[in-house]
């Protein structure tokens, strides 16, 4: 059966290609940037959850974004926490940031840990190479950071004006990417006896909810989070993330809208005579509008599919060249980006379609 929209798509290759690529760009940008934001958040949350502890104990009004934590808790609070019924072990953590790796600016979160208690509250540091945190100014990095920045055992690194030695490479996936002894971090940051938060392990047979309830009762106002819902807490507290995603969504839809508007408007002018012919054959306004809309729909759908491919390519590029980053391509966002790309495009096609339908058949037939 005659399919004018498809025939036009294949006969106007440059216009079609530009339209498809532009819609694809909007879709891929949305998917990759949202994926990057969500992926980094999820990956960070997952690593904290993978520590293996049950509860996170923070000062009042703290953020789940641990990098924002200050060392305001006394390390000795740990002894009082151990007195709470159902608490099996407690590990104080002091947070720090590595701002340069091999002279290059980079922000990497560090944990200052007490090796023994850290290993007790969860899976601990799984050292794959080296001695781990055995001596003062020892530093452990995870396999991902070591691979990304070619960090090797024995390498010296200046951190907070002190020379640390890379004494271990640990398995990535739990906690952060860089670890040092809490005492070294306390000394380097002049926070002697301080911790940013505590990881708490519940005793065997005691529910995490019960331990959390006991902690809340005993330490009123402190922030007590079951680590099982840490990811959710991070998402809820991600300042500006929703706005960022909303802005990206509008941006993607706007690209589709403008590109299709321009492409179809140009096409309608170029095809004025063709529309005149259709009108002479008896085509109604509805028929003409449907023709333009169907053609735009095909372009948008192809753009969305190419956009999906671009987003996979983008994710591959990001995780290949920036291994510490994570891109989470979520099925829900595939559906959302497809919806935005197609609806933006169809909206853009409305005005050209309306103009085409309004063309005077005689003028259109005389169009050169």
């Amino acid at each position: 059966m005659a399919n004018l929209p498809l025939a036009n798509i294949f006969n106007r290759k440059t216009r079609t290609t530009v339209g498809i690529l532009a819609v694809a760009l909007g879709v891929a940008l949305l998917l990759v940037l949202v994926g990057l934001a969500n992926g980094s958040l999820e990956e960070t949350a997952e690593r904290i959850m993978n520590v293996g502890a049950d509860v996170l104990f923070q000062p009042p009004d703290s953020s789940p974004f641990l990098a924002l934590s200050a060392g305001v808790l006394s390390e000795r609070l740990g002894e009082r926490l151990l007195d709470v019924p159902g608490v099996a072990s407690v590990a104080p953590i002091l947070i720090g940031s590595l701002t340069k790796v091999k002279g290059q600016s980079k922000i990497v979160m560090m944990f200052g840990v007490d090796k023994a208690s850290y290993n007790e509250v969860g899976v601990g540091l799984e050292i794959l190479e080296g001695r781990g945190l055995a001596r003062p100014l020892d530093l452990v990095v995870d396999t991902v950071l070591a691979a990304a920045d070619n960090i090797v055992l024995g390498e010296k690194m200046m951190i907070m004006n002190r020379e640390f030695e890379v004494s271990g490479i640990c398995r990535a996936g739990a906690g952060v990417r860089v670890f040092m002894a809490i005492s070294d971090m306390q000394e380097a940051t002049a926070q002697i006896g301080k911790a940013s938060f505590f990881f708490i392990k519940a005793a065997e047979g005691v529910s995490v909810d019960d331990v959390s309830a006991s902690l809340k009762e005993r330490f009123e106002g402190y922030k007590i989070t079951a680590l099982a819902r840490f990811s959710e807490a991070m998402r809820e507290n991600a300042l500006g993330l929703k706005e960022f995603i909303r802005a990206l969504s509008i941006f993607a839809a706007l690209i589709s809208y403008l590109v299709i508007l321009l492409a179809m408007y140009t096409t309608i002018i170029e095809r004025t005579r063709e529309i005149g012919i259709l009108k002479a054959l008896g085509a109604s306004k509805t028929y003409i509008i449907r023709l333009v809309m169907v053609e735009s729909f095909f372009i948008c759908v192809m753009g969305v599919v190419v956009g999906f491919l671009f987003s996979f390519l983008g994710r591959w590029g990001i995780i290949t060249f920036f291994p510490t980053l994570s891109v989470d391509l979520n099925p829900q966002w595939f559906a959302m980006s497809a919806l935005l790309g197609i609806s933006g495009g169809l909206l853009g096609a409305l005005y050209p379609a309306y103009r085409a339908a309004k063309l005077d058949p005689v003028e259109a037939l005389n169009f050169e």
């Binding site: 059966m1 063709e274 012919i277 259709l278 002479a280 085509a283 109604s284 306004k285 005077d360």
Partner: protein, 244 residues
């Protein structure tokens, strides 16, 4: 025997084009009547209003005043949508410039006319049968620009026939064709008129082409100058020399 009814009729038809602040009259009170099954030629010098009249008869354009009846329906009284519907159901156009859709094949050009008409889908065999009338069955899968101009016009005629319209309006259908192709197209129109009883209104400058028709309407300056056969209206020698 009863006379065939008027399938096309105009009463005091006027059309004025506005160019800036200037009114340019194209038709100045046209009264014509074309009976069902007639083959009528409209002749006259360029700019006399022939094409405007054809466009109004075909519902492509609205008159400034007066009435135009197509099969009894006054096009001046109906909405744009109704005019479009009537054009789709009753009229087939054949243009001087063929006006085929160049991105579609010959088959698809014919199919789309049926698609617009809204009738049952037309099969490839049926399209082939239609193209047989214009002797182009073997060109089903060609695109218009791969055909000669004569072939393109024959496809345009086949397209005009796909919905079996009561009226065929042809605007200088041989204007872009050589004498051999012109003869084929004219014979085709004449056969359609004779065998299928389709009413044909054809604009032509060519008295020899007009000889194929039953009647000639001669126009000048937006008015009908005379009616009659070619023999009555044009001196035989003049017809012969213009045909050459």
């Amino acid at each position: 025997m009863s006379q065939p009814a008027a399938i096309l009729k105009t009463v005091a038809l006027r059309k004025v084009y506005r160019t800036g602040s200037l009114d340019v009259p194209a038709l100045q009170g046209i009264d014509i009547e074309i009976k069902e099954g007639e083959f009528v030629s409209i002749m006259g010098p360029s700019g006399c209003g022939k094409t405007t009249l054809l466009q109004i008869l075909g519902g492509l354009s609205r008159p400034t005043s007066g009435h135009v009846f197509v099969d009894g329906v006054d096009l001046a009284d109906v909405s744009d949508a109704e005019r479009t519907r009537l054009r789709c159901k009753k009229i087939g156009f054949v243009f001087q410039r063929f006006n085929l859709l160049t991105t579609l094949t010959v088959q698809a050009n014919i199919e789309i006319a049926r698609q617009i008409y809204g009738g049952p889908l037309i099969s490839r065999d049926e399209v082939g049968d239609l193209l047989e009338i214009v002797r182009l069955r073997h060109k089903l899968d060609y695109k218009p620009l791969e055909l000669s101009v004569g072939e393109q016009q024959r496809v345009a005629i086949a397209r005009a026939l796909v919905n079996n319209p009561a009226i065929i309006l042809a605007d200088e259908p041989t204007g872009n064709l050589d004498s051999r192709n012109s003869e084929q197209v004219l014979r085709l129109l004449s056969d359609l008129n004779r065998e299928k009883k389709q009413t044909i209104v054809m604009i032509t400058h060519n008295p020899a082409a007009a000889e194929m028709s039953n009647r000639v309407i001669e126009m000048l300056d937006g008015q009908v100058l005379s009616h009659g056969t070619v023999a009555e209206l044009v001196e035989p020698e003049q017809a012969h020399s213009q045909a050459r």
